[in-house]
């Protein structure tokens, strides 16, 4: 299927410690049997300029963005952030593509949910691999939240959880056994 009905994207860079939260969640989600019309994308650092060609407002009904967000909570705390509450310029990548504006444009055609996790530590500009304990522990909670968002029963999904198909980036960055 070229355009899925539901797109789940994990944003961030696993080389900046907790910034790897989004990709790590997507990695884990991809081990679940999800409906055919759901697509999980590890958007990494390429969100703004890559993800939008993967959406089509005529077919895509829902976009879930998973990322870290500083809302002054405890590390690992999750929060759903309405798109309207995103301050302008709050999403930028190295090439200064602003994601907030396109999201605001899309929000009338696609239901957008941003799930933010309060990071414990972001190492940028220095490289550091691995999530902090609190943020790592937030992964299962996030998955439950996402599954609820897309109407998939957690219990059934867990029973059918499969082996990792291929080592995705987030997991492999942390090394086998460390994730």
């Amino acid at each position: 299927m070229l355009y899925p009905k539901i797109v789940i994207t994990g944003c961030g860079n696993p080389l900046f410690a907790d910034d790897g939260f989004g990709p790590a969640v997507v990695e884990e989600l991809n081990t679940f049997h999800l409906p055919d019309d759901v697509k999980c994308v590890d958007a990494g650092l390429g969100g703004p300029h890559f993800v939008f060609t993967l959406l089509n407002p005529e077919e895509t009904k829902k976009l879930i963005i998973i990322d870290i967000a500083d809302f002054g909570g405890e590390p690992g705390e999750l929060r759903k952030i309405p798109v309207d509450d995103l301050p302008p310029g709050s999403y930028r990548d190295a090439h200064s593509w602003d994601l907030t504006e396109p999201l605001l444009r899309l929000k009338d055609d696609i239901e957008i949910t941003v799930i933010g996790c309060q990071p414990g530590r972001i190492s940028a500009p220095e490289f550091e691999i691995g999530l902090t304990e609190a943020v790592k522990n937030a992964i299962p909670k996030t998955i439950k939240l996402v599954l609820k968002e897309i109407g998939v029963d957690y219990g059934t999904a867990v029973i059918h959880q499969k082996e990792h198909r291929g080592r995705g980036a987030a997991e492999t960055c942390s090394g086998p056994g460390e994730a």
């Binding site: 990494g44 300029h49 198909r165 995705g168 086998p176």
Partner: protein
């Protein structure tokens, strides 16, 4: 830039001041499976090139030959990546260009025709490139399918058909888009002036000319030390220090507050390119070289047009070849064929390198792997090669058009900043201040 009284650039020093982040150091000691995943994360624009170059550098070091079908999938991923990258760059190029026959610059986001249909075609080409890339590579952005020894999985016959259908659709669109862009670029070349900040700036006929050489390893894919006839030579490469290359401390004494987006840097500001440069200056045969579309066409297709327009046209000429390569690989691809080498050696620490022809140029990764762990790693990314060459290409242009020359290189600066500096005796003398 040093400019003369007429505003013509006498010397340009284009460099990256993004802090060095030391990915090569971070990767040391990691398993050879992890390194390509780490390399994929240094940049949000070029994850595919870095994944392929790093994976193949590991394979080159451990001397692992991958099955044919795995290689075909990688070439498909490579070509699909180049396709959507050229299309993205079109959006960056068009605002410098004019609608032929008018003095109106093109706004690619305009809802008016004919621009609207061009924008739609660009988006469709990007969708096609990314979707084919996602099928062959596992994921559209950070590909999960390539691994040391081949690929995790082959594609299904149905997925192969899907890619084929998309490639056929893309082939026609890419041809149209290529011809459109070339017409627009030729129109720009015929113009006498371009408007910048309300002024008509004369366009020199030699805009973006330089006399540096070119470096390319293949028209589409790349080369590695495992090849029977490798097309890149580590002994011809040497990295020199930026302080041997760039200007020393200068005080900016000219400013133009009307220049778009906030004006130029204020007069009186001090700059010190020698010390601020965060990349070394790589040379090939003792000179900086140009890498990218034109370098590939000059090396493999007898192309010879110089200057910024020549470089941009070379990029458009690569459009159709991306789709032809995909179709050719799909014709050969056997979806039941194996995609993982039977034997994956763990490495004895020998030097292996792989050069990937990324959209913006040759991306060379060098590695030593021993007992499955990385002992040494270096990434020579395309824009690092192009920074000093493009600096030379600025000479002779009105300073207001410098950006157009720089854009011709489709620079990607964030991953260009990591460096190990060697002196003439090839010893590491500094790992740069910022580390």
């Amino acid at each position: 830039m040093k400019i003369n009284d007429e505003g013509i650039v006498e010397r340009g020093d284009w460099l990256s001041i993004t802090p060095v982040r030391g990915v090569e150091k971070l990767a040391l000691g990691k398993t050879m499976e992890q390194v390509p995943k780490i390399a994929s994360r240094v940049c949000g624009i070029c994850p595919i090139a870095h994944t392929l170059a790093a994976t193949e550098a590991m394979e080159a070091s451990i001397k692992c030959h991958i099955p044919k079908d795995a290689h075909l999938l990688r070439v498909i991923l490579q070509a699909a990546n180049r396709l959507h990258s050229i299309a993205l760059h079109n959006i960056l190029t068009l605002p410098d260009m004019y609608l032929p026959g008018t003095d109106t610059k093109i706004n690619p986001f305009s809802k008016e025709e004919p621009v609207r249909s061009v924008a739609k075609r660009i988006i469709r080409l990007r969708e096609i490139g990314q979707t084919i890339g996602a099928i062959a590579g596992g994921e559209a952005i950070h590909p999960s399918n390539p691994r040391v020894g081949g690929m995790y999985m082959n594609v299904s016959p149905r997925a192969k058909d899907k890619m084929y259908d998309l490639a056929k659709e893309g082939r026609t669109l890419a041809q149209e888009q290529s011809e459109f862009m070339i017409a627009v670029l030729r129109n720009f070349q015929r113009r006498d002036w371009a408007e910048v900040a309300g002024k008509q700036i004369p366009i020199p006929k030699n805009l973006g000319y330089h006399n540096q050489g070119y470096m390319a390893t293949d028209a589409i894919y790349g080369s590695s030390s495992l090849d029977e006839n490798p097309k890149w030579f580590p002994e011809r490469y040497i990295e020199t220090r930026p302080w041997d290359w760039y200007m020393g401390e200068v005080t900016i004494d000219f400013e133009d507050p009307t220049y778009p987006i906030g004006g130029t840097t204020k007069a009186g500001t001090k700059a010190n390119p020698q010390m601020q440069a965060c990349t070394g200056v790589p040379t090939y045969d003792g000179q900086p070289v140009e890498v990218g579309p034109r370098a590939r066409l000059v090396t493999f297709k007898n192309y010879d047009e110089k200057g910024t327009v020549g470089q941009q046209i070379a990029r458009q000429l690569e459009y159709p070849d991306t789709l032809y390569s995909i179709i050719k690989c799909l014709d050969e691809l056997n979806p039941s064929g194996k995609v993982l080498a039977d034997n994956i050696p763990q490495g004895d620490g020998s030097l292996g390198w792989a050069a990937n022809e990324a959209p913006r140029g040759t991306d060379v990764h060098l590695a030593r792997v021993k007992d499955g762990k990385l002992k040494w790693f270096e990434m020579l990314v395309p824009t690092t090669w192009n920074l000093p060459t493009c600096s030379r290409a600025l000479t002779g242009a009105p300073w207001q058009l410098a950006e157009i020359i720089v854009r011709g290189y489709d620079p990607c600066v964030s991953c260009a900043t990591h460096m190990i500096v060697v002196d003439e005796a090839n010893k590491i003398v500094a790992q740069k201040l910022i580390q």
